[in-house]
């Protein structure tokens, strides 16, 4: 039985949702009216920035670093799957893990991706130049969550332990860099919207392959 760990896990989720909402509202701060006359549409810029602009063909950070892009994407897919599994377990603690082998394999690859990113952060001079303890804590907490999710999927760990570590993740979520899970959408919307308003986005159809 989950017992008190279920309540702690629930509290951690509520904590994360409430704090992230407050942070988002404070960052919004009532918005920023634009008094300039538009030449494009904000909505088209946002749509473009979340679709074509994110493709490796349009985004150099992905195109020039395909391995890192793939590893990062795999990590995020695993985390999303892990959070989904956690949500199902939180709602129905008695529910047996769904598709444990498939889940385990995906989460396992995702965990490996997290380990690679951790090593990269430890050895890359560029990353070391801007890393703080938060950058390492975030990946360790996330990696631990993925590891516990795998063990729980194969019923190798008690639900209380699984909930306990997951709670650590959700309590930590709004405190450090992990809050990018929400602010990613806000930041990309803001820049996409602004460039859409100015007519920069969506990028004009180009004659020839000259991009």
């Amino acid at each position: 039985m989950a017992g008190i760990s279920w309540y702690v896990a629930l509290a951690s989720v509520i904590w994360a949702i409430v704090l992230l909402t407050i942070q988002l509202l404070m960052a919004w701060g009532g918005g920023r009216p634009d008094h300039s006359a538009p030449t494009g549409r904000r909505s088209r810029g946002i749509l473009y920035n979340f679709t074509a602009a994110m493709l490796p063909s349009h985004k150099e950070s992905a195109r020039h670093h395909p391995a890192e892009f793939l590893i990062g994407s795999v990590l995020h897919v695993g985390v999303l799957l892990g959070v989904l599994g956690f949500g199902i377990t939180l709602v129905s603690p008695q529910q047996a893990p769904i598709l444990p082998v498939v889940t385990g394999v995906i989460l396992g690859i995702s965990l490996l991706a997290g380990a690679v990113l951790l090593v990269r952060r430890l050895v890359s001079p560029n990353l070391k130049a801007m890393s703080s303890p938060d950058d390492f804590i975030a990946i360790v907490v996330t990696g631990g969550f993925l590891a516990l999710s795998i063990l729980f999927a194969f019923e190798r760990v008690a639900v209380a332990t699984y909930f306990a570590w997951s709670s650590v993740l959700f309590f930590y979520l709004p405190l450090g860099k992990l809050r990018h899970c929400i602010f990613f959408f806000a930041a990309r919307s803001d820049l996409g919207g602004r460039l859409g308003y100015r007519g920069t986005f969506p990028a004009q159809p180009k004659q020839g392959s000259t991009r």
Binding site: A62, S131, K177, T210
Partner: protein, 447 residues
């Protein structure tokens, strides 16, 4: 590329910071930070994952790939202030979360990062994994430094000139008058017509804003514009007091100054009773007046405003001017100014014009919103202490130009033109740098 300077003692005196105590400086810095992140700006302070994949998107990093030139490293220094003053975790445990207080020493160290190692071109933001507006984060750093009196002296001097004299080069009204007079005389001979350059004429259709460089160093741009306006039968005027299309408040981070410069021009437009303001070819000037100006003033303009590129294309479309592309035979490529194209949304007009007025047009790759900064943006040309970084960072642009095989580089920006001239000299490229209007004028077919 070396560091911009040997030590703090090499930096020109900036004045205000010497008089500010540490506490007063921190208060001013926090106030500027609060103002900069108010409303949406804070989104970008919260979203960086520090993946470090932005390096190759930056012309400065490409020229000198050291961690200190990585866009994310530069931006993180500003974000660390946000974490310290705007997040609970950063206040309680600054070491854990990479939060830093804005002490005089920390602010002093930031100067080279945000003024010397970034032109705020915004290319990194377009290619960022997350989609952060990194350039605006750097601008936040500049706003903080402007509030604490740490704007590099040369850049501050330009802003001061604009506020005190109405133009960044402190050109006198007599100087403007004599220059416009000889340009008009020259045009009369060249066009065999009674060409006028109206100054302070009330009730004309357009007020034309120019870069003071056009008066002081590059009169051919003004001559070409005046010739094209004459050929199109345009009703236009210059102002003798507020004709400057530039606004270095955008670069210094002093938004009060930027607003004051904007206001004096717009009040002049209203006083002259024009129907619209036309901005000559100036990348940052277009961005500053067209997009940022109304927000600095907190209100929409009474008089509409657009780029001269729009007007030139309108003349061509309406048949108000006739051109012959054979008159520009040499291969021409186009450099896209970041502030006009990426931040301004003007990318196709100049291409449509060039396709009609030159016979051999070759695009650079990449181009348009993905084009690389030439290295002269962000006020870099006015900050002598960063000259070495500026010229060195143009290597990517040099490589782009070489690949086109062009003899002429057209660019609708005088800052870019200055930088491209420096690059051409440095690399012995033998390039001719021209504005779009000069190429249009050269292709004019007169009756």
């Amino acid at each position: 590329m070396s560091k911009p300077r040997e030590g703090n003692e090499a930096r020109p005196q900036r004045g205000v910071d010497e008089a500010m105590g540490a506490e007063q400086m921190e208060r001013a810095a926090v106030s500027a930070l609060n103002e900069a992140v108010r409303g949406l700006g804070a989104y970008h302070m919260n979203a960086c994952v520090k993946c470090g994949l932005c390096g190759e998107t930056c012309h400065i990093y490409r020229a000198d790939p050291t961690p200190e030139n990585l866009p994310a490293v530069k931006a993180d220094k500003v974000m660390s202030f946000y974490r310290r003053y705007h997040t609970l975790s950063g206040r309680i445990a600054p070491f854990l979360f990479g939060a830093r207080s804005m002490t005089p020493e920390v602010l002093e160290d930031l100067v080279d990062d945000v003024y010397g190692r970034c032109t705020c071109c915004g290319r990194c933001g377009l290619h960022c994994s997350v989609g952060l507006d990194i350039a605006s984060t750097i601008v936040t750093g500049r706003r903080i430094l402007a509030a604490t009196g740490k704007v590099p002296a040369d850049l501050q001097a330009v802003v001061k000139n604009q506020l005190e004299t109405g133009n960044q080069m402190a050109i006198t009204q007599d100087e403007l008058k004599s220059t416009t007079e000889w340009i008009a005389e020259d045009l009369k001979l060249e066009m065999d017509a009674d060409v006028q350059i109206p100054v302070d004429a009330v009730g004309k259709r357009i007020l034309y804003l120019i870069n003071p460089r056009e008066v002081k160093f590059f009169p051919l741009s003004l001559l070409a514009a005046a010739g094209v306006f004459h050929a199109a039968g345009e009703e236009w005027t210059l102002s003798s007091r507020f004709y400057d299309v530039t606004n270095y408040g955008l670069f210094s981070g002093d938004q009060q100054a930027a607003a004051a410069i904007t206001r004096q021009v717009m009040e002049e437009a209203e006083a002259l009773g024009v129907e619209e303001v036309i901005l000559s070819e100036c990348g940052h000037g277009f961005r500053a007046f067209r997009w940022e100006g109304p927000n600095w003033l907190g209100e929409s303009y009474e008089v509409p405003m657009r780029s001269v590129l729009d007007l030139l294309l309108e003349y061509l479309d309406a048949g108000r001017i006739q051109v012959d592309p054979a008159r520009n035979e040499a291969r021409v490529t186009l450099h896209d100014p970041c502030n006009l194209v990426r931040w301004g949304g003007v990318s196709e007009q100049q291409r449509e014009i060039l396709q009609r007025v030159v016979s051999d047009f070759q695009e650079m790759v990449p181009n348009r919103e993905n084009n690389f900064c030439c290295g002269g943006g962000g006020g870099a040309l006015s900050m002598s202490e960063y000259g070495e970084i500026r010229v060195g960072s143009g290597q990517t642009k040099v490589d782009q130009i070489k690949k086109t095989g062009a003899k002429i580089v057209a660019t609708p920006c005088h800052n870019c033109a200055d930088q491209l001239l420096d690059l051409s000299k440095q690399h012995k490229l033998g390039l001719d740098i021209q504005s779009v209007v000069e190429l249009v004028f050269n292709a004019l077919v007169l009756d």
